[in-house]
């Protein structure tokens, strides 16, 4: 079992990621993109440079151009990105879609796709959710058999980075009458510019990239199926576990930053002639948050390490715990951050509100805390 204490090499990676993000993408970077109404919603230059440093392909095997490290390392990068609210296609490309290709892809498919991911030139998206809330087995999008492959019909409502991805990894139903069954799901690789694909960017409070993607009779070749037709559920589940843990790592970075900024503010803001941090009503809430932050740190570290260990059987339990606990903690910290900053906390000028908005969207992405608690209980059999 890997220790929860960082190794020297891991500390180095953290320092590299922190230095890069502080220099190239502090929160002002995100603000500039947002204020300019940037059509991409992220900086291609930044993404390429991040890739060149080896930060994006870190957990991809060396055979496909990656760094051959694991999530224990990748999580450190995600944490730094979260601290500065850096918008990148990390979660969609490197974590979710890459996870599907690694798990289910043929050798040819991996060789075709992954080197471009590692170099930063190829962007992917994982198109799974169809409703307003995360429900991985509620898939109505259908892939009907044709002589040369499949014909894809349906709509994916909230696809992370759907409008910038070169290739979409689509979860479709090839079998099964119900729209809420694990059986009969198939993964398909669909180019975003394929005939019959329409993409609409959705503008969200956190100014990240969500898209609605429609498939109107899209022809998909047999060779574009990822893994075994009708048996994608286990892959989808593993991919979503990766996603939940990685997102928890990003969220953890954000909540740490919001917490540290708030504690610093409690020491300098004066009212009634004293620092407001001297008031017990605020002290106790800050100390309570500190405990929650430390618990969140532990579950993030452990769940990242579990993803790197094939012998672990508790990955899903840990992933759901991480997503639920860190979502709750981020919402708590971001809410308290606004309240403790007082009036300035609800202004657009202060970054705190940006953390609050990111917390809200990230908390629902890949399943709310309540979704993951229900899943945890099911996995435990009660």
């Amino acid at each position: 079992m890997q220790s929860l204490v960082l190794t020297e090499d891991q500390e180095d990676i953290r320092r590299t990621a922190r230095a890069f993000v502080q220099e190239r993408a502090p929160v002002t970077h995100f603000r500039a993109l947002r204020d300019a109404g940037d059509a991409l919603g992220f900086s291609r230059d930044l993404w390429r440079d991040l890739a060149q440093l080896g930060l994006s392909g870190m957990a991809v095997p060396e055979a496909y151009g990656g760094g051959g490290l694991g999530f224990a390392e990748l999580g450190l990068v995600l944490e730094e990105l979260g601290r500065n609210l850096v918008p990148t296609p990390f979660l969609s490309t490197v974590v979710l879609a890459t996870g599907a290709v690694l798990r289910a892809g043929s050798e040819a498919q991996r060789k075709d796709i992954l080197p471009g991911v590692c170099s930063g030139e190829r962007l992917l998206a994982f198109a799974h959710d169809e409703g307003t809330r995360h429900a991985p087995w509620r898939v109505a999008t259908r892939a009907e058999r044709t002589p040369g492959g499949y014909r894809l019909v349906g709509e994916k409502s909230f696809v992370l980075d759907g409008h910038v991805a070169d290739t979409l990894v689509v979860v479709a139903r090839t079998d099964g009458a119900q729209d809420d069954a694990r059986d009969g799901l198939t993964l398909l690789l669909v180019p975003r510019d394929a005939a019959g694909v329409t993409v609409q960017r959705l503008e969200t409070i956190d100014s990240r990239n969500l898209a609605r993607v429609r498939f109107e009779g899209v022809a998909v070749a047999e060779a574009a199926v990822l893994g075994k037709p009708g048996e994608a559920a286990a892959v989808v589940e593993a991919v979503l576990d990766r996603g939940a843990v990685a997102l928890a790592a990003e969220m953890f970075g954000g909540l740490c930053e919001a917490f540290e900024r708030t504690v610093a503010y409690l020491k300098v803001r004066k009212q009634f002639g004293v620092a407001i941090g001297s008031f017990q009503a605020l002290k106790h809430r800050a100390a309570h948050m500190f405990c929650e932050v430390e618990l969140a740190r532990s579950i993030v570290l452990e769940s990242l390490r579990a993803l790197d260990d094939d012998s672990r059987t508790d990955v899903s339990l840990l992933a759901s715990t991480a997503k639920a606990r860190v979502s709750d903690t981020y919402m708590l910290v971001a809410s308290e951050a606004i309240q403790m900053h007082g009036g300035i906390g609800v202004t657009d000028e202060l970054d705190i509100g940006l953390y609050y908005k990111r917390a809200r969207v990230a908390a629902m992405t890949l399943g709310e805390a309540s979704y993951h608690r229900d899943r945890f209980a099911r996995l435990k059999g009660y």
Binding site: V263, G277, S278, L282, K283, F290, A324, R325, S370, A377
Partner: protein, 397 residues
Amino acid sequence: MHDLEVFRREVRAWLEASCPASMRTPQRGDIDDVWGGRRATWQHPDQKVWLERMASRGWTAPTWPKEYGGGGLAPAEARVLEQEMRALGCRIALRSFGLWMLGPVLLQFGSEAQKREHLPRIVGGEIRWCQGYSEPAAGSDLASLQTRAVLDDTGTNYIVNGQKVWTSHADKADWMFCLVRTDLEAKKHEGISFLLIDMQSPGIAVRPIQLISGSSPFCESFFDDVRVPVGNLVGKPGGGWGIAKALLEHERALISNMRERAAAGEEALESLARRYLGNDVRAADPVLRDRITQASMDDLCSKLTLRRSAEAAKAGKAPGPETSMFKLYGTELSKRRREIKIAIMGFAGVGWSGDGYAADELAITRDWLRSRASSIEGGSSEIQLNIIAKRVLGLPD
């Protein structure tokens, strides 16, 4: 072979030869705890044999110096001993506030004579100690304590007058380590001294306090012109607060530790829920099911944080700020878990006595009621929050 592996073999061989078979069975519960002392009680004669054998090697206090009766082991060796005892299922030979709290403080602050007099008797379980800290008007604000110790005219004895409260097991203890005020003029933290008092001294009266759980682990102790030799003062007059703080750190680690240990043998909430609500817990009470899940997740995160802290210590890193939350979080979580148990059990969880309830049901109820004290004793949760705010977050007074 590595020295430590040689040592491991020796330890295992000695434990196998020396630990009676009955002492390798799981305890029935607190009732099988051995506390020693002049008035020690034994549930089984082997308990005494096991204690004497362990004490003869100093292994009840493995890391204390041999000259004071300890085992003289290096920390790594002590860990080996602990691991081997666990592997063989050996019971803990002796539980004692002397071992956990007073001993480390005497080693740090005590005089040579005090160490020679008291430490060997702690190791052997001959003397049972209790802690005289809180007073009726000095709870969370411990430093406002009023029990007075005044030097007599000859300068050979302190005369102690006052009252202590929440003294754990004072009715069974032989000696008390006690905070007393020796200087009324000094600032409140600076007039306090640390005194060792023989409970057989004339003028001491002890009365157990019955708790809402029905048990009486705590006592009130009254001091009426009690004579205590000046040689029983630990450290300097007026230096008691620093000693007390060092000791409180041991106590906090101990309380969260004991809660963890107690939780290890506990039935999981989900298993209890299936027993009382049926297999479809979700249908029976979806809200309660979510409370169970929240507590289970928090429990998992809390255990991981303990592990992270232990791993950091092993890696030679200074204790992180996370250690300051263990007492607070451990006790709050264990209270919550016990409340959920009662909600799961319904009326089966509120029985007080008699044949109408199963023994394990009654035990869970008493345990729940007892748990209410855990977030008060050893520094209340609110005091812990103050400490975190000040020492970890650096918030101003």
